[in-house]
Symmetry: C2
Subunit: 636 residues, 2 copies
Amino acid sequence: MTLSDELRISIDGKWRHVREQSRKELAEMDLLFDHDLTLDEARERVLEQMKKLIPTGIPAAGFSVKAGGTGDPGMAVTGISMLAQFDLSLMVKAGVQWGLFGGAIENLGTQSHHDAYIKDLINLDILGCFAMTETGHGSDVQSLETTATYDPATQEFVINSPTPSSRKDYIGGAAQHATVGAVFAQLITKGEQHGVHCFVVPLRDATGKDLPGVTTSDDGHKGGLGAVDNGRLMFDQVRIPRENLLNRYGQVDEGGTYSSPIDNSNRRFFTMLGTLIRGRVSVGGSASAACEVALSIAGRYALKRRQFGPSPDQEVLLMDYRMHQRRLLPLIARSYAYRFAQNQLVARMDSLQTADHPDPLKARELEGRAAGLKAAQTWHATEAIQEAREACGGAGYLAENRLTTLKGDTDVFTTFEGDNHVLFQLVAKELLTSYASEVGGLDPVGLVKFAAATATDVVKERTAASQLIQRLIDARSGKDDDHDLLDRGTQLGLFEEREQHVIETAARRLRRAGKDPEQAFAVFNAAQDHVIRCGRVHIQRVVLEAFTAGIARCEDPEAQDLLRDVCSLYALTEIESDLAWFMGHNRISDARAKTVTSLVNDLLDKLRPHTLALVEGFGVPESSLGAEMLLTEGQS
Amino acid sequence: MTLSDELRISIDGKWRHVREQSRKELAEMDLLFDHDLTLDEARERVLEQMKKLIPTGIPAAGFSVKAGGTGDPGMAVTGISMLAQFDLSLMVKAGVQWGLFGGAIENLGTQSHHDAYIKDLINLDILGCFAMTETGHGSDVQSLETTATYDPATQEFVINSPTPSSRKDYIGGAAQHATVGAVFAQLITKGEQHGVHCFVVPLRDATGKDLPGVTTSDDGHKGGLGAVDNGRLMFDQVRIPRENLLNRYGQVDEGGTYSSPIDNSNRRFFTMLGTLIRGRVSVGGSASAACEVALSIAGRYALKRRQFGPSPDQEVLLMDYRMHQRRLLPLIARSYAYRFAQNQLVARMDSLQTADHPDPLKARELEGRAAGLKAAQTWHATEAIQEAREACGGAGYLAENRLTTLKGDTDVFTTFEGDNHVLFQLVAKELLTSYASEVGGLDPVGLVKFAAATATDVVKERTAASQLIQRLIDARSGKDDDHDLLDRGTQLGLFEEREQHVIETAARRLRRAGKDPEQAFAVFNAAQDHVIRCGRVHIQRVVLEAFTAGIARCEDPEAQDLLRDVCSLYALTEIESDLAWFMGHNRISDARAKTVTSLVNDLLDKLRPHTLALVEGFGVPESSLGAEMLLTEGQS
C-alpha cells in the first residue's frame, strides 16, 4: 500500500466502508452540478439523483430499525457528507429530506408517525421540508412566531402566520418539491402557550398546487446550491388533525389539555432541539468534505503549474514557492485535524443514538461539541476554499474547475443550523455553566445567570485517550514559558492552559452581573467577544487532542511519522495566529516566540515532498476533482 | 448639511463631481445584474448598457485630447469605479474596452493608431479585447509564448500560438463581442526575439465569425461576472500588416530591422507595462466601491434586524451586539482608510499622466503604489463582502440581497491585473532596491541581485503632507515601547518603524545570496513570506498617512472628529492583528499590549451611534443597495 493509502485509512475512521462505498458508487452517478441548466431543470435533476441514492442504503441508515430504517446513524451522516464531494445541492436536498425532515418525524414523533411516514420518506414517496426558520427569527428558535392553536371543537390544530416576519423562509423544498412540512410553531391550547413544537402540515396537492390556506413562494437565486428549491411558507388558519402534532415531548389530549414528560418548558425545548443534533454533525462533515475537494484541486494544480524561476527555462512549480506552501499546507493540516475530530464526534453520536439508555449529560456535551465543530469546520471551509480558488489564479475562477461552485455552495454553511457566532456562544455557555442541567439555549441572560452561579473547574472533559494526553503534557520539559514548541505535550499544554485561562477570566467578568436582566445583558454584551473566544479555543483544544489520539491509532509507521508533522503544523499555525496572547500571558517567551515562524517554515520544507500523498490521502475520487485545468493545462 | 453629507464630501476627493454625477445618472439606468438571464442574454444586455455610458463622458475622459478624448484620466478611473457599485460585469466590460484595450492603443500606439481607433472605440464602433494572459502564463508576462514573426516579403507580422499553453485565456470579450484584439506576443524579426510587444489583430468578421486562422472559444460560466464574455484565442499563422504593431516603444522597418527608443529590453518591457497602470488603479478602486456597497447593506441590516435580548419583548438590534460591532466597524474603518489612499493615488496618477514631462522616478513609485493598493483593496473587498454576507445570515445568501453577487463578481479581482502575492512582491522589490532604475518586474533573481547591491535608507518617500506626519511622530510622548496608542503620532511611528525594520531585515537576508541564479532563487524563496510582508506593511503605512492627511483637509469639525476615531480604529485593528510582532520587537510593552483590545472596544462604543452616518457617508445610491431584506423585512 502507498503512503496515501495509509493516510486515507487512518483518517477514514470507523465508517471507512461507507466512504469507500460512496467513492465508488457516487462516482458512477454523474452528480456534478451543471451550470447550463435553468433553475427548474437543476431542481428536477437533483430530485432524480436523490432517487439513485435510495439503493445505497444511506437514506435508510439514518432511522432506527423500529422506526423502519437500518439503524446506523454513523453511516447516515458519513454518507451524507460524502455527497458533498460531488454536489452540495444534492447533499443539502438529501440532508433536508432524510436528515432534518425525517429526523424530526423520528425524534419528535412517536410510533404512529413512524408508521405513517418513515418508509415513505426513505423511498421518496413523501417529499418533506423542515420548516423551522422564519424571516424574523433564525438562530433564536424560541422566538418563532408561527402559531398552532388547538381547537377542541374539531380536534384540530390551526396553523397560522400572524405577522410578515413569521413567514417561514429559506426552507429547502418549500419552493417546489415538498408536499408536506415539519413545521415548528408555538403550541397554544386553552389560551396558554407551551412553547415551540413540531407539526406535520400538508403543503401541496398531488399536482403541486398549494393547499388551501398555504402560500408557498420561491427564494429564487442564491449564492450557490443552485439545485435546492429554497422557499417561503405562509399559513392562513390552516387546519390539521390533532394527531399531526409530533408528540414525543408534548401532547394535547382531545379536550385540549397539554401534557409533557418534561415539566420545565425551557428544558423541554432544548431536549427537542438536542435530538436534531445530526443536522449540525452533517453540515460540519460536509463542509470539511467539500473543503478537501478544493484543497485536493489546488494542491494538484500547484504540483503541475510552473511560474517564474531562476531563469526562463527553469520555471518553478507553484508548490515549491515558500508562499504557496504557506498558503496551502497549513490548511491541509487543519483539514486533517478536523477529520480526526469529526470522526470522533460521529462515533460518539452514533454510540449515544444507538444506546438503550443514552446518558443525558453526555448528550448535552455532544451537542456543544457538535455546535463548536460545525462552526470551526464551516469557517475553515470558507477560508480554505477561498484560498484554494486564489491559489489557482484565473483558472480557479472558471466554473469548470469547480472551486467557485464549492465556494458558493458552502458559503451558507456558516449560517445554517445556527449562525457560527451564536454556536460558539452556545459552546461557551456549556463550558461556563459547567453543563448545568437546567439551562440550555442561547439567550445571553441565562448565560450570565448561570456563569455567576456555577462556573468553576472548567476544562474537565477530555477527548478520548485522556490518559495519553495527560502523559504527554506531564512529560514536557523546560521552564514554564520555554518549552520545546515541537513537543506534542507542550502544544497540548498550551492549548489547555489557554482554554482554562480564557474561560476563567470570562466567568469572572460575567459574575459581576446582578440579577436585573438589562444589566446582565449589558455585562454579557461587553464581554461577548471574550465569551465567543471561549468556544473557539475550546474547540482548538478538542481538535488537537483528537488529532493526537488519531495518530496513536495509526498502524503504519511511515504514515504515523508524517501525521506527527502534519499535527505539529496544525498546532503551530494555530499558536502563531494567537501568538500575542501566549506572549502576553507568559506562556511563550519573547525569544521562543521569534522561533515560531521558522519552525513553521521548517515543517513546510519537511511536508512539501509529501504534498501529493497528503491530498491523495483525503481520498477524493478523480471524477469529483473534475477540474479541467488539471487535465488540459498545457504548461508543465 | 448632515454629518453623512460631510463625510461623503470628505472622502469623495477631487473627482467628487464625477461620483455625484454617476450616483445620479447610473441610478437611472437599471444596471443591476439579472440572474434569470441566460449567458447570452446577460452578455447582450451589458453591451446595451455600455452604449448608455457613452453620453456620460466617462469613456472619452480616459483619452488625451490629442488622441481623440477629453483628457481627464482621474475622471475615467473614478467613473469606472463607480460602475462597480451597480454591476461589476459592466465595470469589467467598460474597463476592458476603454481602459485596457483603449489604453493599449493610446499608450503603446502612435498617432496613426490613435487616428484609426480611438474615436471608434470610444463610441463602441470597434469592440476590442486585451489579449495578454495565456493559459500557461499570467502574472509572468515576460514569458508569454505567442509569437509575432515579421515577414519582410509581405511586410506582415505572423501571429502564432505555438503550444497549447500559449492559448490566450480569460480574455474579456474574446468569447463573443470583440472584433479586434490588442494581442501581446514575442516580437521576432530577422531571427531575433525582442521581447513582448502589442499588436492589433482582427479577430472576427462583421457577422461575428472567426477570421481565418483565428480560433475563439468560450470560458463559459465563472464564479461571477456573469455578463462578461471571457474566452480564449488561438492563432494559426495569422497575418497582419506591419503597421498593426503598436510601435511607440519598438518599431520594425520595412526591411525587418528592429529599433526602439529604449535600448535595454527589460526596461523597455516594464516601461510598456507601466503605461498600463490605470488598469490596476481601476480594479483597486472598483473593489473598494463594491465593498462599500456590501458594508452599506450589512450596516443597514444590522440597524434594522433584532435578535435575542434581555427578554423576549426586548430584542436587541444586531448592531448593538459587541461581536457584530467587532465584525463590521473595523471593516468600515478600513474602507474609509482605503478611500483616502485611493483618492491620493488617483490624483497622483492624473497629474503624472497629464504632465508634459512626467518624472520617470515618480512614475515608478506610482506603479508600486498602484500595485500594492490594488492588492490591499481587493483582499479587503474579499474579506469584507464575505463578512457582510455572513452578518446578514440566511437573507445574505439570497441573490436578491446582492451580497453573494458582489462576492462572486469581485472574487477574481485578487487575481487579475496580477496575482496579489506577486504584486506585493513587486512593491517589495521597489522598496528593497530603492527604485534602482535598471530593474523592474517580478523575477525573484533580479530582486535578490539588486537588493544585494543597493538596499539602504528605505522608507524614504512619504505620502503628501509629510511635514504633518513628521510633526505628529515627533510630538508623541512616553518611553520607546510605552506611547499612548490612541495618539496619531504613536500610530504613525509604529507603522513607520515596523516598515523600516521589516525591509531592513529582508534586505539583510537577501544580501546573503551569491550571483548564481539558482542559489539566489533559493535565498529569495526561503525569505518569500518576509519579502511579501514588506509590501504589506508598506501599504499599511501609506494608507495610514493618507488617512491622516485626509482628516487634516476635512473642513467640518464634527466630521473631522468622527474621522479621527475611525482612523484610530483602522490603526488599532491593524496593530492588533500584528500585535505579536510589536511585542516581540519591543515596540509595544506587554502591559500596553493588553490594553489594545479594550481600546478597540472603546472605539466601537464611540462609533456605534454613528454607524448609519458612516455607511451613508460612502454615498451608495439607494437603487444600488437593492437589497430586498432592507425593504420587506417584517421584524423590526
